[in-house]
């Protein structure tokens, strides 16, 4: 059976998004009051903004909310009652750039890993439909091609939007979860042979634009030998040690577990945390194994390009460029990677 493809004029996107919002929450690129593109939960279909490239805030909040309640409790004399949070509602993430889809794969790998798969994550993931979006032009700062991710690739999506001529989008239905969106897309006409050819052509054009990939194997190999290199001084010295890069990274997933209490009521919550903070590794004794920003900056690169790859066979970076855009010191991970890669070349006998 050929893949189901529907054609949606951009002017009808609000109708499609509105129908998607029936019975599920929808996270999509939208502009906030400052005009900044962010992934946010829609309250009206018109909020989805198709002029956004890579929104500053990534979609990871759909799967790893900034605040996730594990359970709530109430204390009374000699008695505690504990109540679990309500089960997650069905949700769709709309308009994911293929690099953001790859980021979901990273999160999946981490949070489903044995021996301790993460139940809250997996429950949320199970009710999540991923609707990707192809980009026929390369967005500024995005270097996903250098990491082998094609901006028109629909893999790992449940459905995928491909931009077409004459202000239209093609919606490819790729999985059963995608097919379950039928009530939202069935009003739109199926793609004819001409549009199918145009989609294939757009993919071919995108592949032809591929840039030379970074040598990820060399980067990983070399990272193993430069733990004490002077390079880390150059990387950490301009870094101010804030969490902008990590919080806005679609793959960074480190968290803290805290108690939020008010009177006799409380909740145990999971909140975002980052290896860039001193508190992240500070022990109860006061000892901190990562004493300075040097160790913390190194950890960020090591985790993304060495440890993560070792354990899960997938880099913890997808080339979205958000950290480059967000860094107040304008550190650029592309430069850091090139430098590490070229060190590898220089040090080869």
């Amino acid at each position: 059976m050929t893949k189901e493809i529907r054609i949606i004029p951009l002017t009808d996107m609000p109708a499609f998004v509105g129908a998607l919002m029936q019975g599920r929450k929808v996270l999509a690129p939208t502009r906030n009051d400052d005009g900044l593109c962010v992934f946010a939960w829609l309250s009206a279909p018109e909020q989805a903004d198709w002029t956004c490239g890579i929104p500053r805030v990534p979609p990871k909040q759909a799967l790893l909310p900034r605040t996730e309640v594990f359970f709530r409790y109430h204390r009374e004399k000699g008695k505690e009652t504990v109540s679990p949070p309500p089960p997650p509602e069905p949700q769709a993430v709309l308009g994911l750039h293929p690099c953001d889809v790859q980021a979901v794969k990273v999160l999946d790998a981490v949070f489903s890993a044995e021996p301790s798969p993460d139940q809250p994550y997996l429950e949320r993931r199970a009710v999540t439909t991923l609707i990707g979006r192809g980009f026929s032009e390369d967005e500024p700062l995005v270097f996903c091609r250098e990491l082998g991710i094609d901006p028109m690739d629909n893999r790992d999506c449940d459905a995928f939007l491909v931009p077409l001529a004459a202000n239209r989008m093609a919606l490819e239905i790729l999985t059963d979860k995608g097919a379950a969106l039928k009530p939202a897309y069935e009003r739109f006409p199926p793609a004819g042979a001409e549009d199918r050819a145009a989609i294939a052509e757009a993919r071919k054009l995108s592949q032809a634009r591929s840039t030379p990939p970074l040598d990820m194997a060399a980067i990983q190999r070399n990272l193993e030998t430069i733990f004490n290199s002077d390079l880390w001084n150059r990387i950490h010295e301009p870094c101010v040690g804030c969490g902008a890069c990590a919080f806005l990274c679609p793959t960074c997933h480190c968290f803290d577990i805290q108690e939020e209490t008010r009177g006799l009521d409380g909740a145990r919550v999971r909140v975002w945390d980052t290896c860039q903070f001193d508190l992240f590794t500070r022990h109860a004794s006061g000892h901190n194994p990562r004493t300075s920003q040097k160790e913390r900056s190194r950890q960020r690169i090591m985790h993304k390009f060495s440890y993560g790859v070792d354990r899960f066979h997938i880099p913890f970076c997808v080339g979205c460029g958000r950290c480059i855009a967000a860094c107040p010191a304008h550190n650029d991970v592309r430069q850091i990677l090139k430098e590490i890669q070229d060190l590898a070349k220089a040090e080869k006998p």
Binding site: C242, F247, V271, D273, H330
Partner: protein, 305 residues
């Protein structure tokens, strides 16, 4: 200010670094995105803890290449005074704009840096281009800047620039002060709702140098880290209180915020209050006593006498 020697930035940097007069030079270089610059931290040939050695031709070439990359223009937005804590007890040369020089004065007053370890290179500045609004204006903090020329420097790298006249209170601030409490609350709530608690504002602020910030205290924990705007409010209000009489209005926190949280009017309000109540402007005079760090037996408040 008596006449301070006007010099060429690169020539001076080369001299200071190669003769060992400083170990570290903190300046600016072009960054990879349009209209952006990044700090350039150069270690001299005699600097300790780094691979560069004297009489190593490769290290010398590297040093020359780095010095050549130094720039100063209207894209240099970071307040480099913020980096001094990374190089405590080292001989450091640093490039400062007018606003940054006030941070330097603040750090000297609070004994965070030692004047004899510092060579301060003043950079007269007409304002930094607002890279978020290409067109392109200068940042609001720069439009309202009362100190375009550094207040403290050993060398300067340009001729003094004219200082525009400024209103005592900007129309924007006047409007906010006159607004109803409901309106102000709504505005504050909206700004705080954007905050993701990455602490870029704090980490970019030269006056925020506490080794353990209250926000990082865990025994007890003062500030939560949830997405409830109350947590961001607590953090920012406490930070504001700590900056009373210390904030110089350099705007580093606003420029560096990845979520465009606009702290400017709150900082401005704080500064104008301090000016009104104590006649004090932070970071103008090293010998002055910061009002919130001093005590007088003639204090007008009975409770403290």
């Amino acid at each position: 200010m008596t006449a301070i020697k006007q010099v060429d930035l690169k020539t001076l940097a080369r001299e200071l670094l190669t003769t060992g007069k400083v170990e570290v030079f903190i300046g600016y270089q072009a960054a990879t995105q349009p209209l952006t610059t990044a700090p350039l931290i150069i270690h001299g040939a005699l600097g300790a803890g780094h691979a560069q050695q004297a009489s190593n031709p490769e290290a010398e070439r590297d040093l020359a290449r780095q010095v050549e990359a130094l720039i100063f223009d209207d894209r240099c937005e970071m307040n480099l005074a913020n980096y001094l804590h990374k190089f405590k007890d080292r001989k450091v040369a640093i490039v400062v704009k007018g606003c940054d020089s006030r941070s330097m004065v603040g750090l000297l007053q609070e004994k965070q840096v030692d004047r004899k370890d510092l060579i301060i290179i003043g950079a007269p500045c007409r304002g930094v281009i607002d890279r978020r609004h290409v067109g392109s204006e200068i940042y609001a903090a720069c439009r309202e800047c009362p100190v375009h020329n550094p207040v403290i420097a050993d060398y300067v790298i340009g001729a003094p620039v004219p200082q525009p006249d400024l209103p005592e209170i900007t129309p924007e601030m006047e409007a906010l002060r006159k607004a109803s409490p409901d309106h102000r609350w709504e505005r504050f709530h909206k700004e705080m709702s954007k905050c993701i608690l990455c602490y870029a504002c704090r980490n970019l602020c030269p006056a925020c140098y506490c080794k353990t910030c209250f926000a990082d205290a865990s025994k007890p924990k003062w500030v939560g880290r949830t997405d409830d705007p109350a947590d961001a409010m607590m953090f920012h209000l406490q930070r504001l209180m700590h900056l009373g009489g210390r904030c110089t209005g350099c705007g580093a926190c606003v420029r560096g915020c990845p979520m465009q949280v606009d702290l400017r009017l709150y900082n401005d309000h704080l500064r104008s209050h301090v000016k009104q109540e104590y006649g004090f402007m932070a970071g103008m005079d090293e010998a002055a006593q910061p009002p919130l760090a001093m005590y007088g037996t003639d204090d007008c408040n009975e409770f403290i006498r």
